[in-house]
Amino acid sequence: MSTRLEEPTTTQRTTGELVLAVLLAALGVYLLVDAGAIAVPGSTNTLGPRFFPYLVGGLTVATGAFLALRVLRGDRAPSDDSEDVDPDAPTDWRAVAVIAVAFLAHALLINVIGWPLAVALMFAAVAWALGAVGIVRPFLIGLAVGCIAWIVFVKALDVALPGGTVLEFVTSWF
């Protein structure tokens, strides 16, 4: 068992945690302020639509502030284990960015080129960002997954999912 007392990027991590706690408190302030703007119908006799938001807002501000305080006093988040995560690896921001952009692009492409093709492109981009070898093979695998999932969910389960001109034409007979 290796026991590490300090993470290599401790200060960076602390800053991140602190920012997150402050953002949470800010969310709470937003809730409190915006809750005041919720229209209350005249017919509401006791507890209107504002009460619970005020409650949640207050809890959020308190939690955010308290968490920020704890982080400043040296409280660290527990390290988060996952099967495929290497806790010593540096953060690969490039992979995160590529995946986020690929996902947003596929969201916009679904209604243009159909879901199977859009997810095939996303699949290829994500696999590439995660270090898969080649680009044609991931694309073909993605296309196969997309087409099979589309046929199962659209033809068998009646889920509304644009298939794209080609696939919709080819499968129009069943």
């Binding site: 945690e17 390290s79 010593d88 995160v96």
Partner: protein, 520 residues
Amino acid sequence: MGIDALLGGFADAITPVNLLFALLGVVLGTAVGVLPGIGPAMTVALLLPATYVLEPTAALIMFAGIYYGGMYGGSTTSILLNTPGESSSIMTALEGNKMAKAGRGSAALATAAIGSFVAGTIATLLLALVAPTVVDLAIGITAADYFALAVIAFVAVATVLGSSPLRGLASLCLGLYLGLVGTDVITGQERFTLGIPQLSDGIDVVVVAVALFAVGESLFVASRLRKGAVQVIDHKGSWMTKEDFRRSWKPWLRGTAFGFPFGALPAGGAEIPTFLSYATERKLTTHPEDFGKGAIEGVAGPEAANNAAAAGVLVPLLTLGLPTSATAAIILAAFQGYGIQPGPTLLTTEGPLVWALIASLFIGNVMLLVLNLPLVGVWVKLLTIPRPYLYAGILVFASLGSFAVNADPLDLVILMVLGVLGFVMRRYGWPVAPAVIGLILGPIAENNLRRALAISDGDLSVLVDTWFSRIVLLLALVALVGPFVLRLVQGRRATPEEVQRDGHLEHRDDESVVTSGKDQ
């Protein structure tokens, strides 16, 4: 009434269609339990759109199968990979992994599977026995009582389950906020919609759950992917011997005894009972020299506790409509999708459905035993899927499940935004489950609070009007303040490795960060 109703449930569950969905559920559940990166909560969330086409019994039987199957599958991963994802599998991994490395993987997998079966069957039986009693007790429950129950579920999920109570609360706050977005059902006023028309219907549960679990997890893994080929320990070796059975059966039963009550409490969860089971087995063992080197008791007990707790979680869900785990919360959302509001009246209004569900759990358990004993080699193959393809595939299904809800690309943009939120939460150690429970239970809590206060004309004392709500709120207060007080008095909670070393639970005084289990 219980036995007849249960037999009726079996009659409903044994129809070919329902058997098929039970099988589909347990196969899917085992697969996602084995696969890193996805779990039963996310799978059920992805399949929620199936509620539009399936009849309630079939869909809920499938979801319950996924829920149970995920518990079985998780043990395979934790024994053969030594990098447990789910906190409830950590204790199984401690000894199971050592057994696998010593060439006893086959026996470890077998004791986990049989222990899961024994615990699952006993706990499901207890569920069937306890449920009608709890319903009888709960039938007179008031809106204020229900609000108190929701509060204790919030507190328990946020503070008891994670290792950092404050971060659990933070996650809960996010979930409560997301639950507020949309139109207030009582007055019809829009809240926090930022003027976006699509948000006036609220943010869909599917989108939030898939974003936080699947997309957030994928981004988190992408940021720190373990490079190189996946190393799976060989699971060959001799099967359980007579000696192994002799050493396993008591831990199975004791694990069940720990797991079920903890799961059934509104402060449920599998983490604490697996901890307790491990510590107990370590104390009671006649082979103390094996602990830390692969003791079969250390696999049998925690794994049984894990499964018994999973069944226990269904008690508050089916009798009170109170979800205490992420998967339970999403199953609750499935009930709501059918216009069924789980609560004390569920067993009377939807009796046949609930009993068919419970009966299907018995059947599912048998199926899971068969799937996991002889077919374990098939599941192990799943573990070797190249990670780039695995996570790309997870994102494909995340897209499918979220797009299927409204066929609106904006949902996918929201999915990514919340996915980034999930990534940041994972990165800084905020648990994700409290957010999902806050999202689903929050609106229910608000409605009950407002109903209670409408009856009392706004008098807040109605919230502590009955003994029931007084005790529950007091317990919630203890659960909320307790961890902070304990921390002040005793220091941090022990990590699994410390339990393994010391053989008992104790609190540590220093605040140093200990990262765990990475000894390769």
